[in-house]
Point group: C2
Chain length 153, copies 2
DNA sequence: CAGTTAGTTCTGCAAATACAGAACAAAGTT
DNA sequence: AACTTTGTTCTGTATTTGCAGAACTAACTG
């Protein structure tokens, strides 16, 4: 597949978006490439060529993406190449994991509340509210997915 | 204030949690200290002493936290010191910003869908579903806060 | 079994990060 | 006016990161 300027520019933007999420640059670019590539499946050396990086860097990045469960490869009879693809079908679990991750702060808030004195009741009260909300939020997540499903049908 | 081992250990854990979110180590430790400190307000040089780091590092970290709107300082009459505190009261807006941030991926998904061919309909379909969900999710956020408020009362 | 293909692991390095320490600034104190 | 306090800014550096390139492995091919 030949990438247009538009493709390349979008891959870069998706790359920096993922960099901001803490991923290393190349990992973000690979996610971008796998997203815009028309087949959705891209061979190891097409990744190397399209992104103009070394095999070692691609190997490490793909190992990382597979470990994170964001990426898989398939093979084809009579072809030793691996074709890598994003697990776009898993967006529900992925998104849910993201949500649970950001509400992980509740764990710390609660620990903090346990060891705080009552020298600053307003501070404590705000933190307690936040913790309550996070608990509420986590409980509401499944219902949110349900409502989406119903609204779609 | 004298920090116990428990305090120090919790500050470290809160620190690495924030490091994983992309912040620099000291910034995370300062958030931890401001959370566990009984007064909630901590002077510049108490931060320096409690965390055992240089003034320059603390100065830069606090500038960053203030720029991000996560931290403010107040002063006291007849006292030139600045007392720094987290904006715990802003947790609603902060959390909302976090949610909007993670759903920012929709922007990219939609751009990707626009330039994709229909060579892989299943892939496109999954992405379209995800985009629809993200749209739905963003719309639901205010209602979520409302329900929490009502449930509290 | 020599050569090719497809990818991994190891070694090294250039650039970025995160901080220390010194110099500096601004304001108050004696 | 010299000195102290409360930070900020500048300069240097140890560490970490992110990748390249070479050496390597495993499997297939002629």
């Amino acid at each position: 597949m030949v990438l247009t300027e538009k493709h390349k520019e979008l891959i870069e933007r998706i790359g920096v978006f993922h960099e901001h999420k803490g991923m290393q640059p190349l990992v973000g670019r690979i996610i971008g490439l796998l997203l815009v590539h028309e087949e959705g499946e891209v061979s190891f050396d097409e990744i190397v060529e399209q992104l103009g990086v070394s095999k070692s860097a691609v190997s490490n990045a793909l190992t990382f993406l597979q470990a994170k469960g964001r990426c898989v490869y398939s093979t084809r009879p009579g072809d030793r190449k691996r074709y890598f693809a994003l697990k776009v079908s898993d967006w529900r679990e992925d998104f849910q994991k993201d949500l649970e991750n950001i509400s992980e702060i509740q764990k710390f808030i609660d620990e903090v509340l346990e060891i705080r004195t009552d020298k600053n009741p307003e501070f404590n009260c705000n933190m307690k509210d936040f913790s309550n909300f996070l608990g509420f939020f986590k409980k509401e997540i499944p219902a949110l997915f349900d409502r989406f499903k119903r609204q779609q049908a």
